[in-house]
């Protein structure tokens, strides 16, 4: 049984996130003082390997989007550290003497303003709904070229945009169109082209297929898969659709109420979930197969409010196996099988 920190000390880790929290203050009263905190992301530790797709799964309010936005520094983290493409020997020295100075130099969570700019070029994001993430008053060409201008990349804009468009399966004729002239699938392709324009290493995909139609969904997923191989991208794929997760991801991270409840290889998570929540989530997916009868676990109740999370295990209020200890203590993420981490006292293995 080892902690997840040991797994982070690996050559192939591109993104190393440690004890990351993001709390949002809730203001109230006449003097607008802070009356409560929304613990959107609470003490999250994990790593993303170079070239892999890590799927982040969870229900609404589980903190998946907040986590992604905190990593790419749209939000300022409340606490914790983020190391992006920092060599192993430097990360190893963090625990030793002088670790403080090292983290000052390399920890993204402590960067501010101008220091973040070179990092932003290497981390990009594709949003859920292309209709609202693309400016309706800009031409496709300008949308895709904007990041290049911002980062001062002196390239032949026209040819660069044309290359990007062909990469995402569109043609030059789309260059001088407005977003409203495109179909939903095409819009999402433009959003992907924009994210790829600065040649990033790491791309956050926030439910990129939930706003497109079923028949177009697979086109987008296959496109993302091909681009990943072509350009050597690393994906953080946020979704609530487990069918999509199984198709696209290498590893899966399940979140509940701002915490990681399970993390592991895709095949392990789907075949042998160790956390009761993962088990329930998997059994709740509607399966397009009328021939096999399945035993469904239907969870009682709803996700508690992140303003006032239950003491002890966050899942204890809905867990079918909860015992007395679960209501008092909060379990840590531990390795229960090889490379499978679960935060549960009475895990299912």
């Amino acid at each position: 049984m080892s902690s997840i920190l040991e797994a982070l000390l690996d050559e192939n880790i591109l993104l190393d996130v440690r004890n990351l929290s993001k709390h949002f203050p809730v203001y109230g009263g006449v003097i607008r003082k802070v009356v409560a905190k929304v613990r959107a992301v609470d003490d999250v530790t994990f790593g993303v390997r170079k070239g892999e797709t890590l799927a982040v799964v969870g229900e609404s309010g589980s903190g998946k989007t907040t986590l992604a936005k905190t990593i790419i520094r749209v939000y300022e983290p409340t606490s914790g550290s983020i190391f992006f493409d920092v060599p192993l020997d430097i990360r190893r020295r963090l625990a030793e003497a002088g670790g403080r100075e090292i983290s000052e130099m390399y920890d993204l969570a402590r960067f501010k303003g101008r220091r973040l700019k070179p990092i932003r070029r290497r981390m990009q994001m594709v949003y859920q709904d292309p209709t609202s993430s693309l400016n309706p008053r800009m031409l496709v060409k300008d949308i895709i070229a904007e990041p290049l201008k911002i980062h001062g990349l002196k390239v032949d804009l026209e040819t660069h945009v044309s290359n990007l468009l062909s990469k995402v399966g569109m043609s030059d004729e789309h260059m001088y169109r407005y977003p409203h002239e495109l179909s939903g699938g095409q819009r999402q392709r433009v959003a992907i082209a924009r994210a790829l324009s600065t040649n990033p290493d790491f791309v956050v995909l926030d439910e990129p297929t939930s706003a497109v139609d079923v028949s177009v969904r697979v086109q987008i997923l296959n496109l993302l898969k091909n681009l990943q191989v072509q350009m050597g991208l690393t994906y953080l794929f946020i979704t609530h659709d487990l069918n999509v997760v199984d198709y696209i991801s290498d590893r899966v991270m399940v979140m509940y109420l701002g915490r990681i409840v399970e993390l592991g290889e895709r095949s392990d998570i789907f075949r042998r979930p160790a956390h009761p929540y993962t088990e329930a989530l998997l059994s709740a997916i509607p399966v397009a197969d009328p021939f096999t009868a399945r035993k469904r676990i239907i969870l009682k109740g709803e996700v508690p409010s992140p303003t006032n999370p239950p003491p002890g295990c966050p899942f204890s209020t809905r867990c079918p196996y909860a015992r007395e200890r679960c209501f008092r203590e909060s379990p840590m993420l531990e390795e229960v099988r090889k490379k499978q981490y679960t935060a549960c006292f009475y895990h299912l293995s």
């Binding site: 069918n243 397009a288 009328p290």
Partner: protein, 373 residues
């Protein structure tokens, strides 16, 4: 239960005529769950609304008929008068909408909104019950109870009685109203309890914004089932909900269908939900029904090229290889000639471009609209 025949519906917009439905044929059998599956713009919701008799301008039914059977008689929805339609809605056909926060009025409590269904369709029962209560109290009560009895008698004769409704607004004279309200509240709380709502008393007096998405959808379902409709239309009832809440709602719909012996028309774009819920399936594409079959046949041996392509294109657990459907959904202002699927169809031939295929029965119990059969 319901028959839709050759329904053609168009929207006359500034950008042109949107040919939303083109000769839609659909039969809902009494007691079954018919799943309607299709993508955005395939016409599933428009068909469902037309069955309810709701065709909003600029939409217009060009031809075709919708017939609802019940108690041996039938109603032609497309030709029915507004007051007839109002009596049908909620009582014979009811609908659960996709987005519960939009289906509920934000300025009324849940109790008011579900209660409205009862007062519209079951005022007879409610006033009779109130009247019986008053008869019991009449010995002990004084003038106030006598006025109440008088009002209720008038309302029993004519629920729209002007005098009673006017006097009901005055203090003292309006006592019958609180009696009626109490009875309705009892019915609402009872209905919410059947929907597995924890603390139904509190939920009944809440406003929609105070409730979670799952709870609002339960309230919407309670409203739809309040007057025991014979046909329940569920239009993507779980799209806006999380997976674990979705599982709860599906279980609820299944249980209510058995308890109230309701026929269900289940509309979705998710083939997984179809497999879970439906007995028979109708597949729609770009405004037409392209295939109808029982649920097992659809999944084991789809006949229409669109159904086949769709089944190969949906991500499913354990499926590593997926083939996308090339091209995009057609624009309905300018739909492709002939069969609307032909530009994306791998088997398309000359005839497909010229002639729209009709639903035919290549074998017992299966309908398909394709020139291949």
């Amino acid at each position: 239960m319901a028959e839709v025949q050759d329904l053609t519906l168009r929207y006359y917009t500034y950008e042109g005529v949107v040919k939303a439905l083109e000769r839609v044929n659909l039969v809902v059998r009494t007691g079954e769950t018919l799943g309607v599956v299709g993508e955005t713009g395939s016409g599933k919701t428009v068909t469902a609304l037309a069955i309810m008799g709701i065709v909003l301008p600029p939409g217009k039914i060009e031809e075709g008929s919708i017939i609802l059977h019940h108690d041996g008689g039938y109603i032609e929805v497309t030709k029915a008068r507004v007051d007839v339609l109002q009596r049908i809605r909620g009582r014979l056909v009811a609908m659960i909408f996709q987005e519960p926060s939009q289906a509920l009025n934000p300025v009324y409590t849940i109790e008011d909104q579900i209660g409205e269904a009862y007062l519209t369709h079951m005022h007879g029962e409610i006033y009779t019950k109130a009247h019986q209560e008053v008869e019991r109290d009449i010995e002990r009560g004084g003038i106030k109870v006598r006025i109440e009895r008088l009002m209720l008698r008038r309302l029993l004769r004519n629920p729209n009685d002007r005098l009673a409704n006017f006097l009901g607004r005055l203090p003292l004279l309006g006592a019958y109203r609180s009696r009626v309200k109490r009875i309705v509240r009892g019915m609402v709380v009872d209905m919410l309890r059947q929907m597995d709502v924890p603390d139904p008393e509190r939920v009944a007096s809440s406003y929609p914004h105070e409730l979670s998405g799952g709870m609002k959808q339960r309230a919407v379902i309670a409203m739809a089932l309040a007057c025991r409709p014979a046909l329940l239309i569920a239009d993507e009832p779980t799209t806006s909900l999380d997976v674990t809440i979705e599982a709860q709602i599906l279980e609820l719909i299944r249980r209510m269908k058995v308890r109230y012996d309701t026929t269900v028309l289940f509309i979705t774009h998710d083939l997984g939900l179809i497999a879970e819920m439906a007995d028979r399936v109708a597949v729609m594409y770009a405004g037409s029904v392209v295939e109808v079959a029982d649920v097992k046949s659809i999944f084991s041996r789809p006949l229409h090229p669109y159904t086949q392509a769709l089944l190969r294109a949906i991500p499913r657990i354990g499926v590593r290889e997926l083939t996308p459907i090339e091209g995009t959904i057609p624009n309905l202002v300018n739909p492709p000639s002939g069969c609307r699927f032909h530009p994306r169809c791998p088997y398309a031939f000359e005839k497909c471009k010229l002639e729209q295929p009709q639903l035919t029965m290549p074998e017992e119990g299966r309908l398909v609209a394709c020139h291949l059969y």
